[in-house]
């Protein structure tokens, strides 16, 4: 169910490596848990983020949660369309609803992320 072309955090973000940069979003599990997303706050291009520290906020009709950066680095792209249409997160969390692209400052955080099987087991256990 979870694409194996990327890795995952225990806080339900996915991280996909593209030419050395990392594209970040949240998983379908997280999107389903949140239900209808109504607001998302993302950093500006150029912002520095640190692995497993909040880089943004997501709010649904049920709850507000922090978004955690899978890796440390600099934000080089932000999905402005998502800010304007947060409902995309419920429709296509693993695709069109990506949030930011990070230029990573090192490899160590990436190595600590979960693969698809491990993440599937984690959320299976949470069910």
């Amino acid at each position: 169910m979870y694409p194996d072309d990327r890795r995952y955090t225990r806080e339900h973000e996915w991280a996909k490596r593209e030419d050395g940069r990392i594209r970040v979003g949240i998983t379908k599990f997280a999107a389903d848990r949140l239900s209808d997303v109504v607001f998302i706050e993302l950093p500006k291009v150029g912002a520095e983020v640190r692995a497993m520290e909040p880089f943004g906020v997501i709010e649904s009709v049920k709850a507000a949660s922090d978004l955690y950066a899978p890796v440390s680095g600099r934000v080089v792209e932000v999905n402005q369309q998502l800010v304007d249409s947060p409902e995309m997160i419920n429709q296509d969390p693993h695709g069109a609803a990506w949030m930011v692209v990070i230029e990573p400052s090192g490899d160590e955080a990436w190595d600590g992320l979960l693969d698809a099987a491990a993440y599937g087991a984690l959320v299976g256990a949470e069910h």
């Binding site: 848990r33 209808d36 109504v38 607001f39 009709v61 709850a63 507000a64 947060p86 409902e87």
Partner: protein, 493 residues
């Protein structure tokens, strides 16, 4: 006849020139308003205020008030979170002219009764909490949290210690991490263990010399007493940190155990939850902060002190964090809290005993019908999960809450605490009778049955209310909060 859901706004009753009052002629010379405020500050077009008769006005707001669900109308399982029942004698006391008409700038020598009330209330709160001193300034629980953390900061600064982190369990109220962040601390979250207590092993891993304080709610938001609170306090004190109690659930332990004896150094009390006063959100509220002696020098100015047989406002407090609010907070709220405490006197313990008994009685009636993720003897509230209903019948907790409205009950708190999937939090409070609890349990069991036999009925609820399911997603994404004249919105009207 209009549908019941079509409720005209006061603007819709407006007829040009219709008025409800006739003001008397001015008996002072008229001065053009331009001369007083300046022409540039005047608006160019007249405000479109509704023009209605007195009877239109009375009917409009009386009808509107009849749509309100309130504790004076029926039971609600939100318990004290909204506010518990406020005995009417509290209101009598607060309306005594000597209190109600007292101007906040009255000199202390002419306000001795009011100061004595605060002084006596402080002693009562200290006795109940096991603390040594109280500030009455904070206007709500979250304001109290922020004040309490400012006191922690002031104390650490005074000791010359630079501590940067505040530990918060994952079951905490969202205001805890928010208050810590507002005060410039880094928030560290610690998980709960399988019994719903703070995970002590995880706490030990993060407890070090950088910890300013632990913010703990006890009983916690799962409605469970922290079984190892003394050990937790030892861990935090062992690394030089302070213990902050979020007193939101203090109403469960009055006269039974005292936060000061459990090792807490500073706490706020939500007087609406604990001592039956109106709620901050419905305002005005109060969130007094109580501290141990070590933090007393930093309390906001002024404090109320007794000098001989006189009561004074003590302003000379060199280490104080200063004011966090004008005057001594919302005085009228404290009159109500004082009246409540005087009415119960030494029987205050019965408030908590009845609250805990009522919650356990309801839990026993509901246990077979819902999942209970942390199934222990609860305190004044408990948390069910609608996980089973969601997985087996595709009915969410939100649907269950909406269906309860059809049975004439307000919905309980849902989706909190965040660590419980499909959470349903129920707090009956101490004032409800066994008959009321039985009727409510029967309704909720009936809804659980409907989830099984007719899930669409529950998913489409409510069916019998004035308005049915509202589009809360659209309301959050495209809020429409402002009335505009019909000409502006064109044919939409």
């Amino acid at each position: 006849m209009t549908r019941r859901a079509d409720f005209p706004l006061i603007f819709d009753h407006s007829v040009p020139g219709r008025i409800a009052v006739a003001l008397p002629d001015a008996d002072v010379p008229e001065v053009p308003i331009e001369e007083i405020v300046g022409r540039e500050r005047l608006r160019r077009e007249a405000a479109e205020l509704p023009e209605v008769s007195e009877l239109d006005l009375v009917r409009h707001y009386t009808r509107l008030s009849q749509r309100n669900y309130a504790i004076d109308v029926g039971f609600y399982p939100l318990g004290s979170c909204t506010m518990k029942y406020n005995p009417k004698v509290n209101e009598d006391a607060a309306r005594l002219p000597g209190f109600a008409r007292l101007h906040p700038n009255t000199p202390p020598e002419l306000a001795q009764g009011a100061l004595e009330l605060l002084w006596r209330l402080e002693a009562m709160l200290c006795e109940i909490s096991g603390m040594d001193a109280v500030t009455f300034q904070p206007s709500a629980g979250a304001h109290g949290e922020m004040t309490g953390l400012m006191l922690v900061r002031a104390c650490l600064d005074d000791r010359g210690e630079r501590r940067t982190r505040v530990i918060v369990p994952d079951s905490a109220h969202g205001t805890n991490p928010a208050s810590a962040a507002m005060c410039g601390f880094e928030v560290v979250t610690v998980p709960s263990d399988a019994r719903g207590n703070i995970d002590r092993a995880a706490l030990r891993r993060v407890a070090d010399g950088s910890v300013a304080a632990l913010m703990l709610t006890n009983p916690n938001t799962l409605g469970l007493f922290e079984e190892h609170v003394v050990e937790v306090a030892e861990i935090i004190h062992g690394v030089g940190g302070l213990m902050y109690l979020d007193g939101a659930n203090f109403n469960a332990v009055l006269g039974i155990t005292r936060p000061g004896d459990q090792g807490f150094d500073v706490m706020h009390m939500n007087v609406h939850k604990t001592f039956s006063t109106p709620h901050g959100g419905g305002g005005p509220g109060a969130g007094p902060v109580a501290v141990k002696r070590a933090l007393e020098p930093y309390l906001p100015t002024p404090t109320v002190e007794r000098v001989g047989d006189r009561f004074v406002l003590q302003e000379d407090r060199p280490k104080s964090i200063g004011r966090v609010r004008a005057f001594n907070g919302n005085f009228g709220i404290y009159v109500r809290a004082y009246a409540y405490l005087r009415a119960y006197g030494p029987l205050l313990r019965q408030v908590s005993e009845a609250a805990v008994l009522n919650a356990n009685y309801l839990l026993a009636k509901l246990r077979a019908h819902f999942d209970v993720p942390y199934d222990r003897t609860c305190m004044h509230e408990f948390v069910l999960s609608g996980r089973r209903q969601k997985q087996e019948h595709g009915v969410r907790t939100l649907d269950i809450a909406k269906r309860l409205l059809d049975y004439g009950y307000h919905a309980p708190t849902i989706y909190f605490p965040l660590i419980v999937d499909e959470a349903i939090m129920i707090e009956p409070a101490e004032t409800e009778s066994r008959q009321t609890l039985d009727a409510f349990a029967e309704a909720l069991v009936q809804v659980a049955e409907e989830c099984r036999t007719d899930p669409d009925l529950v998913r489409g609820a409510p069916h019998h209310t004035v308005v049915t399911r509202l589009d809360e997603v659209a309301a959050a994404r495209k809020p429409n909060l402002r009335w505009r004249p019909k000409a502006e919105v064109g044919s939409r009207a």
